[in-house]
């Protein structure tokens, strides 16, 4: 474990990613204290006389939005929504994917067949379309959005875990465990799962990037979390028609989404290289 950490730290890109993630987590946790204003307060002096949003200034560092709200406060509060949905949705997706993948790979037979054919089926679905349709029809709360994202994102994990389980189940130590009388549940929990954990960790990290983007996209289309919950995608959705005259309303939240998504991708890549040094630099 220690050598994994050391290898991870040598990877400058991964450390950069971890820093980006760390800053976002800190921003999300400390938003109530860091934010200069209430994210939902509409300022009298937050709009020009014509009613347009204000560009960044000493009073409003990131400018104001179309309703005269302080964008810095909204970006800080939006971090929590993004991370919460990203982590929750991906956690559920990885959990479903791992359970189904392990079950299919270890039991094989008709159970495995049914599970893997079902993943084939899910692969054939246009995932984004499915997510948008579901989210639009369910009028989502934060948890529903997370659940919808999880339901279309577990497939990849299931496939990877399935093929790894297949390979592991052939190994001698699993055979040996079975030979000395370990039952399926013991073999699974004590012998198989520990070997799958690195993969689970890597996907647990890389997948957050996907889910963060997914949440932003749903919110941008107006079917994500509902107001007043601040969301970066939603902020861009609301100010989309002003982006030529007030581009900071698109660029600042957009940059925030990019940083979080890139951060988790870099950490995931670094984690994969650190956990499996033989693959280093190949992927």
């Amino acid at each position: 474990m220690e050598s994994v950490w050391r290898r991870f730290c040598k990877d400058r890109a991964a450390v950069f990613g971890l820093t980006a993630v760390g800053i976002t987590v800190a921003a999300a946790l400390c938003a109530p204290w860091l934010a200069p204003f209430d994210p939902n307060e509409q300022f009298f002096d937050g709009l020009t006389i014509e009613g347009s949003p204000l560009p960044p200034s000493a009073r409003f560092w990131f400018g104001t939005d179309t309703l005269g709200r302080d964008q810095l406060s909204r970006v800080l509060h939006g971090a929590g929504t993004s991370l919460l949905i990203g982590i929750l949705a991906n956690g559920v997706a990885v959990l479903i994917g791992t359970m189904l993948g392990v079950t299919a790979g270890y039991l094989r037979g008709w159970v495995g067949m049914v599970i893997m054919r079902f993943t084939d089926l899910m692969m054939a679905f246009p995932a984004l379309l499915l997510g948008i349709a579901l989210a639009a029809l369910l009028k989502p709360s934060l948890f529903i959005v997370a659940l919808v994202i999880a339901l279309v994102n577990w497939v990849q994990v299931a496939r990877v875990i399935y093929s790894e389980t297949l390979a592991l189940a052939e190994r001698d130590f699993i055979e040996a465990a079975r030979a000395i009388g370990a039952g399926p549940s013991r073999v699974l929990s004590r012998h198989l799962l520990p070997h799958l954990l690195p993969t689970v960790f890597v996907y647990g990290t890389l997948g957050i990037s996907t889910t963060v983007l997914y949440e932003a996209t749903l919110s941008f289309l107006g079917v994500g979390v509902q107001p007043p919950t601040p969301s970066w995608g939603k902020m861009i959705f609301e100010s989309q028609s002003y982006y030529l005259t007030a581009p900071w309303l698109v660029f600042i939240p957009g940059f925030a989404i990019l940083v979080v998504s890139l951060g988790f991708n870099l950490v995931g890549d670094g984690l994969r290289d650190a956990l499996d040094p033989t693959q280093r630099g190949r992927r």
């Binding site: 054919r117 983007l213 932003a216 957009g254 990019l258």
Partner: protein, 306 residues
């Protein structure tokens, strides 16, 4: 070959059938009443009942499903609730724009992904390799709507080189295609790099080098041909995904493709259109996979179809 084809086609049909079950189930499990939306807010109970009966929505679910699939098999995707026209016709009317965007996006993905991937592979471990890979990762991590709006702001608004969205000329295609190409190209370059690195350590590459073949020829002829296979498979999948319409990009650029149609259908709860597009998209994803698999032996003769 024929047996393989028959088996794959049979499997594809079963998966497609499964897709229709799920689409059908989802749209009917949803807590919203399409009849109320068609009839309008001020409709009487009798009108609603009449519409319900006309659409066959009063029949048992299983019967509705069987009727849907039977019609589907005859190429009938049903009628749109909102537009009162055939879903098939609606999709066909959006097809030119969607096909054009798909073509443009795939060209952009390949033009970005393959050169960057090869460049990184040949400079493996150096600073330029890392820079290329981080650039790819940024492409993958950036939300499409932000990329699209940024490109619009810079190239259409500030520089005025290209039109501010819309559809019509080739100039209109550039920004939407590049927006899709940046994300796809990021994935392609990562795949291209790792495939190329694998190929370049094969014995036949060493043989070619020993024979004195130039590095350029080695990479482009021997390397690329062997490393391109995963990309071909990805293009197959992408064709299916783009067929269902690039909802986000079409919404940013006002592109009148299938994605826009779907998006309007979702907002208006036009269930036949949603079902039609989803089923069609799934069919294309399955077909794209199949074509990529069938193309594989043509590109790499070592792969034999069993």
């Amino acid at each position: 070959m024929l047996r393989y084809l028959a088996k794959r086609l049979g499997m594809s049909l079963i998966i497609l059938l499964g897709v229709t079950v799920i689409t059908f189930g989802l749209t009917y499990l949803v807590p919203a009443d399409p009849v109320a939306m068609i009839a309008g807010r001020n409709s009487t109970a009798e009108t609603r009942e009449l519409i319900r009966r006309q659409l066959g929505l009063d029949r048992p679910l299983a019967e509705q499903y069987v009727r849907y699939v039977t019609r589907l098999a005859q190429g009938d995707l049903g009628r749109s609730y909102a537009r009162k026209t055939d879903v098939g016709d609606l999709i066909v009317s959006r097809l030119p724009a969607t096909l054009l965007l798909m073509l443009g996006a795939i060209v952009a993905e390949l033009l970005i992904g393959i050169p960057v991937g090869i460049y990184a592979a040949t400079r493996r471990g150096k600073g330029s390799d890392k820079a290329a890979m981080i650039a790819s990762l940024i492409g993958v991590s950036a939300p499409q709507f932000v990329v699209g709006l940024t490109l619009l702001y810079v190239f259409a608004y500030l520089l005025g080189w290209l039109p501010l969205g819309g559809y019509g000329t080739l100039a209109h295609l550039v920004l939407p295609a590049v927006t899709l190409g940046i994300a796809g190209g990021g994935w392609y370059s990562r795949m291209m790099r790792s495939a190329m690195i694998d190929v370049l350590r094969q014995d036949y590459i060493r043989t070619a080098r020993a024979k004195g073949v130039g590095e350029r020829r080695i990479i482009l002829k021997h390397g690329l041909r062997n490393a391109i296979l995963p990309i071909v498979a990805m293009v197959g999948i992408d064709i299916g995904i783009f067929m269902s319409g690039a909802v986000v990009v079409e919404s940013v650029f006002g592109w009148p493709g299938i994605g826009q149609l779907t998006w309007q259908a979702i907002q208006g709860l036009d269930i036949p259109v949603i079902m039609g597009v989803t089923t069609l998209a799934a069919a294309f994803i399955i077909l794209g996979n199949l074509v990529a698999d069938l193309l594989a032996p043509a590109i790499d003769p070592r792969i034999r179809i069993r």
